[in-house]
Symmetry: C2
Subunit: 375 residues, 2 copies
């Protein structure tokens, strides 16, 4: 392997895939057509045009009926998590999925709020585990759980909504970070759209559908929380530049986001298949199997090895390969898929930005390493 790290977790947007010329056109038109609007302070939730565009996008892509006034735009999902804590309360107990996306816990801890953990089963957050966690706010990614890739079935979604309705003050944060790239499988409604009692806060980002470095995310608040937000927190200016907000609004409303997502879906379908083919070509079925769900930009590799996950991670890193084990996303040791963490021998493969040309070489190194005896 070359001296550069081959990163199976890298998820940044490939420059060849970003619609630079269209984006440049949007920016140019925005700058020339609406100088006055650009210098006017936007509402704390974001400019009207962008919120309208997002509401229309949610309707056509996710069948969600959302009043633009429920939408709050912010500079990244992490920023919105912080805002939500201010809205929901520092005294609440926030429950996250275990294993899960570590940054969420870091955000909660950095705000000095109490955080608890709910275990996952094959359908997502386990109810018994949730019940015993004594949580007020449940923070989940039901469409495509990170890192397991689980898509939560409708039944579990209703069960969680029932949990939220058991006690006042309970809410569910539904974090959809890459729902646009659910590439097959039947469509499952968002929890927001089956929530009849204003218990779900929906979150999404343009990090996956456009680029993470553009720092634009949004949340959809239930009506009563949206009102509370404007009452209590409207002194906070929207953190996204109006320049970017108007450019993105034009990008969405002129149909470019839809085109871009469709193009990227095709690209990812092909790339995913290429990666799967290469894995099938290099590994024997008893060496490695793929555990994939229907959605998103990553899946899991189950490697047949007796080497400890942490040891294998280190050995591969010494060969310039960054491959993260599922067990590294556990907050404590628990089981999932019947394997015992921390040695599930499951590894995360995010294929969205990996270099196909060097994939063979990287896979062969992995193949060689897993056959070594553990010492």
């Amino acid at each position: 392997m070359s001296s550069e790290i081959y990163d199976f977790s890298a998820n940044q947007t490939n420059p060849n895939n970003f619609p630079f010329s269209v984006w440049a056109k949007m920016v140019r038109e925005t700058l020339s057509d609406r100088p006055d609007d650009l210098l006017k302070r936007s509402s704390c939730g974001g400019v009207k045009e962008l919120r309208n565009a997002i509401a229309n996008h949610l309707l056509s892509f996710r069948g969600m009926v959302v009043d633009p006034n429920q939408i709050v735009v912010g500079a990244g999902t992490e920023y919105l998590y912080n805002l939500l804590i201010k809205l929901l309360g520092y005294d609440k107990i926030y429950c996250v999925e275990n294993p899960g996306y570590k940054k969420i816990v870091q955000v909660y801890h950095s705000n000095r709020v109490k955080c608890c953990f709910a275990e996952m089963d094959e359908n997502g957050v386990n109810l018994n585990s949730l019940e015993s966690a004594n949580a007020d706010i449940l923070h989940i990614s039901p469409t495509h759980h990170f890192p397991t890739g689980i898509t939560m079935p409708v039944k579990r979604r209703y069960e969680l909504l029932a949990w939220a309705n058991e006690k006042s003050g309970r809410y569910i944060i539904e974090d959809e970070y890459d729902s646009e790239f659910r590439l097959n499988g039947k469509p499952i409604p968002t929890m927001q759209s089956i929530d009849g009692t204003e218990k779900v806060i929906y979150m999404n980002t343009f990090s996956k559908s456009l680029a993470s470095t553009i720092r634009i995310s949004y949340m959809v608040l239930p009506a009563h929380l949206a009102n509370e937000f404007y009452e209590k927190l409207s002194f906070y200016s929207c953190t996204v530049s109006t320049f970017d907000q108007y450019a993105l609004a034009a990008f969405i409303s002129q149909g470019y986001l839809e085109k871009h997502i469709n193009r990227m879906r095709l690209y990812y379908v092909k790339k995913r298949q290429l990666v799967l083919d290469k894995i099938a070509h290099i590994f024997n079925p008893d060496e490695c199997s793929v555990i994939e769900n229907d959605s998103g930009l990553h899946f899991l590799l189950k490697l047949n090895t007796n080497i400890l996950d942490t040891v294998l991670e280190k050995r591969l890193l010494a060969k310039n390969i960054h491959l993260q084990s599922l067990s590294s996303f556990y907050y404590k040791n628990h089981s999932i898929f019947g394997y015992d963490a921390p040695n599930t021998h499951l590894f995360l493969l995010n294929y969205s930005n990996i270099n196909i040309d060097k994939l063979d070489e990287a896979l062969k190194i992995i193949q060689k390493e897993i056959s070594m005896t553990d010492i």
Copy 2:
């Protein structure tokens, strides 16, 4: 007066003053020249190019010697206040100026941290008041206090640095929101530049020098706090889009910011004089006097009236004039300049974006109102 509000506090950038064509050029060049960089995750403190550009700008404009690694870029000053609380501690007591910029207190309260108040005298924050406030962190705007306009003399700056050094854990947040527009008066060093013991956190924004809607601010952390920031909080992505960061970096490093500031200084010098001339022309000296310091984009009007400040504010608003009294910026009732709040009869005039053509009319309405008897 027309049905539109004549706002003496409005501070948004006039579209005629924003350098749209140069900005468009910077964005165009950034998009075509560095697609790869734009999609690479920036450091949590901001991209290197922008931090270098800011460091050079601080050196040439404020004589500040700053390592770019000490700079943290964020989507607005309010966002950086939030980040600072995470860095300095939720258990600390934060002291703000009274009167002061209300949003600061709102930010602290929304983070559930303890906030105390230090009174102002003619040289800025009063030491006795500060001592009795029992604060850990002092948050001030010494170059141009809002709303009084006071520029803190060097002696008081050293006294405050002495206070910060009396006890470990004490820091001073030096908030310079419009230092570029100190239009006359001898230059006064920033507290950051006379701080030899890493006690000062310097903050500034491009809100005044460019546009508030572009949402880019930055802070300069003392070296040990910068290290702590990278250790503890580097999981927080920089909240400013890399697209905007690179465009601004080019704008600064190619000399356009300096040109723009110089052009705006000339514009504000002329506008300030025009406003002062109109005030002198319309009011008799016994009706109204101007209390101005050397700096910034606002000054105070002292109106000779026996009407309560709050009553006058309301009466003027009924005539579509928004004129804020100094007393409205007090957290509690205190005295400043020898007048007793809440009836100092001092009013804030931010001239940066007022409509000169309708100023005569607005001033005449004020003149008429202050001569009415209080009922």
